[in-house]
Amino acid sequence: MSNPLKIVVVDDHQLILDGIMASLKENGNYEVVSSTNCDAAFAKIKEGSFDLLFTDLSFDNSSFSTKIESGEQLIKAVQKEKSPIKIAVITGHTETNRLYNVIHNLKPSAYLLKNKCDATELDFAIKKIMNNDVYYSHEVHQKLIKRACVEIQMDEIAIQILSELPKQSKISNLVGVIHKADGSALKLRSIEGKLANLRIDLNAVNNTDLILKAKELGIID
């Protein structure tokens, strides 16, 4: 690690900023720059070649002269610059809508919750990010799974598959058991495709795990 990672941290609370900086220094060889507002952060990012951006989502300190008022706007602006900088969100926002919106539209490399975050998690997340991986805090994960769970419940076929699967010894036995809304039977390939999607949505390693998780989440009885 010859060149230290260049990191920008943006948060409207100085205390939090200090905390994050301290945690980062604890971990290793980082070159960290901080800012309490987005406009300044964006200017710095444009100037120098940074490797990573940590940003909050909402900023209470915006005034009339402020151009970039939120983390989302900052991320968009940075992404528009097409710089290779990695983006991580560190915020207190746990509402599904906010996090889903951010994850779905902006696809940050990490979504961390600052009230639960410590130096270890931060370090782990940075390693993952720099390894081109994605890291979400546990609670964020939970939220995403819950959301998937709600969506699955609205999906008649998914419910059918999840309730029928434990009764069958093989997946192929499901053919003829699962029916679409118009009454036609679902083909094996469609069933397998659906199961694969379900495993991703519920973060399950295999079909047995999927069933267990579905039961745990109350999707099936």
Partner: protein, 654 residues
């Protein structure tokens, strides 16, 4: 098995049909058989049977044919009643089928019926009607035949002028269609009329013409009859002219015909009697005797009463000619008797005339005969004149009627055209009126629709404006009030005033909450669908199950943002309430959309609340306001411990 059964049924129906159609075929055949082969004694009976058969199978043209034949035969047989029946049947047929052929026959048979009842004027009138109908349907043969009948009736009624007019009119119809039989008759009639009018030469040229045509008639019997008539008519015309020699040659030529006395008896009588008359008038009565006696005997044998009166009258004339007064008187008496018996006034006058000049009775009796003779001739003359007048009147009136008819027809046509034009104009103006009414209606509708749309748009704008206002308040609360509070809080913390700082923190939280409640949502970044799922996900847990339906099934993107926002915020409010205050373990959300409205129904099994309590809060009030701003309805039902149901209905467009 089933199949076999079907075949069986099918063949059964087939057989039935065959049998039935055969039945009617058989009936048709037998009708045709009766029509063509009815002869002799049973002719009328068989025709009557044919009539009733035709009636039974309801075959219009057969009903017509059978009745025509039946009626005519009945006339020949002088069956008044039957003629009337045929006429009534034809009337019925006409009323059903409006068959002009039948109507012409109706009048024809009415005429025949009157003829049988010696009402020649009524007969003539009906003949005229029948003729006119046939003329209208261009049935020349029928027209010619009716005119022939008319000519004959008129001639009998001594309306010679009328008879001549009718005959000539008849020729106009018959000659173009090369009819021999009736054309011949018409010429004969013209000959007879001319003869009566004293135009003997003209009469004979007509008769010759008639004979010329008759010779072309392919029917042998008819040809012979016509020829015998011709000799007789030629004979009488010469007698009338006083050329007895010529008359005798013609009459004798007629009598030379083979077995005439047997085959053509009536012609034979006529020829013999006219010949005898010619001999008597020629003052060669002795030549007349043999023929007269033979005819007299034949007539007596055949009980020919009418004929006998003529015969005895002639015999009386003969005896006068040979100066046998006694026998002359006796025959005249007999002539009178038979004439009276047969109700033949003309023959009665002839007999009376013969009796009046008899020396066998006292002058007083002779005088009585003479008086009776004068009286009868007088009344005969009067009757004839009356008939003639009547005929003339009919002739005049039909002529006038025809003229009037053409006039009326023209007038009618004009009127019809005028009416048509008026009707057209009416239709056009009606259509125009309808069109303009329609246009007016459409424009009113369009106008109303536009106004409604404009009102709706204005409403939406108002909603947006309010929304903006709310946003500004929310932003002000969040940025300014909360910001100030934060600064205050930081200061208090620095000054270690922890209790106040904490309560200030709580106030800050409330302000944030309020701001959050007021804050709007936008569907630009995340769709309505996703946001609703996100919302549900936030509150979903194994302890509080939320079901959401109708979201994927409908296309929400077509809705105005303000409507989606209201639906979303209402859902959020309700779910929050159910979760936070009502402690529901089950929340059900139904969404639906049709072409007029968006619907939202949220049901929870929470503890419910009292709607009248003020505590039901700003949230609900806010919801109600938003829904009402959009012209929608909101209905909230909540009962303590029974849960809450909220139903919202928002019109989606106008």
């Amino acid at each position: 098995m089933q199949y076999k059964k079907h075949i069986f049924l099918f063949s059964f129906f087939l057989i039935c049909n065959l049998v039935f159609s055969q039945n009617s075929m058989v009936e048709k055949d037998s009708i045709l058989y009766y029509l063509n082969n009815a002869t002799g004694k049973n002719k009328l009976k068989e025709l009557k049977r044919a009539v009733s058969l035709a009636e039974k199978i309801q075959h219009d043209s057969l009903i017509r044919e059978t009745n025509i034949k039946f009626g005519l035969q009945s006339y020949f047989k002088k069956k008044h009643k039957n003629v009337e029946i045929a006429q009534q049947n034809l009337t019925k047929l006409y009323l059903c089928s409006h068959d002009s052929l039948a109507l012409a026959k109706v009048y024809h048979y009415k005429a025949l019926f009157h003829l049988l009842n010696f009402r020649s004027d009524s007969a003539l009138y009906n003949y005229v009607e029948s003729k006119n109908i046939s003329a209208r349907i261009k049935d020349s043969l029928e027209v010619g035949r009716r005119l022939l009948s008319m000519a004959n009736i008129q001639r009998d009624g001594k309306d010679y002028l009328g008879s001549e007019i009718s005959a000539i009119e008849g020729l106009r119809y018959l000659e173009p269609i090369n009819d021999y039989r009736y054309t011949g008759f018409l010429y004969t009639n013209l000959g007879l009329v001319s003869s009566k009018a004293g135009k003997y030469k003209e009469a004979r040229s007509y008769l010759n013409k008639s004979q010329e045509i008759n010779e072309k008639n392919p029917n042998r019997k008819r040809k012979i009859r016509a020829r015998l008539n011709y000799y007789n008519n030629m004979g009488t015309s010469y007698i009338n002219e006083g050329n007895y020699e010529k008359a005798i040659t013609f009459l004798k030529e007629g009598l030379d015909f083979d077995s005439i006395a047997v085959k053509y008896r009536s012609k034979y009588y006529l020829l013999v009697e006219n010949l005898s008359d010619a001999y008597i008038l020629q003052k060669k009565p002795e030549k007349a005797y043999q023929g007269l006696i033979a005819v007299n005997k034949l007539k007596f044998k055949n009980k020919d009463i009418k004929g006998l009166s003529t015969s005895h009258n002639l015999l009386s004339k003969y005896y006068y000619a040979i100066h046998n007064e006694e026998k002359a008187f006796r025959h005249a008496k007999k002539g009178l008797k038979y004439a009276k018996k047969s109700k033949h006034l003309l023959r009665e006058t002839r007999a009376l005339k013969l009796l009046a000049k008899s020396n066998m009775v006292s002058p007083k009796t002779a005088n009585d005969y003479l008086k009776r003779y004068i009286f009868l001739t007088d009344s005969l003359y009067k009757r004839e004149r009356a008939i003639r007048d009547q005929f003339a009147k009919i002739r005049y009136e039909t002529g006038k009627k025809e003229k009037e008819n053409t006039l009326l027809k023209n007038e009618n046509d004009e009127k019809q055209i005028q009416l048509e034009q008026e009707k057209q104009q009416k239709t056009i103006s009606f259509l125009l009126a309808l069109g303009s009414l329609l246009l007016l209606g459409i424009s009113v509708l369009v106008f109303k629709h536009r106004r409604k749309k404009m009102a709706f748009e204005a409403q939406l704008q108002k909603v947006e404006a309010r929304e903006e206002e709310r946003q500004q308040i929310a932003k002000a609360l969040h940025d300014e009030v909360a910001g100030d509070l934060r600064l205050l809080h930081q200061q208090l913390e620095k000054e270690k005033q922890t209790t106040i700082a904490e309560s200030l923190n709580a106030v800050k939280g409330n302000v944030r909450n309020l701001s959050h409640q007021l804050s709007s949502v936008s569907f630009d970044e995340v769709s309505f669908k996703d946001q609703l799922i996100n919302l549900v996900s936030d509150y979903y847990s194994s302890g509080c199950k939320i079901s959401l339906s109708g979201l994927k099934e409908n296309n929400w993107s077509i809705l105005e943002n303000s409507i989606k926002r209201t639906v979303y915020l209402a859902s959020r409010e309700s779910v929050q309430n159910a979760h936070k205050y009502a402690k529901a373990t089950q929340i059900k959300i139904w969404l639906s959309l049709d072409k007029n409205n968006a619907y939202l129904r949220i049901e929870d099994n929470g503890i419910g609340f009292n709607l009248s309590e003020k505590a039901s809060g700003i949230g609900l009030k806010n919801q109600r306001e938003r829904v009402q701003e959009l012209g929608g309805n909101i209905e909230i039902v909540s009962r303590i411990n029974k849960g809450t149901t909220i139903q919202i209905e928002i019109p989606i467009h106008v």
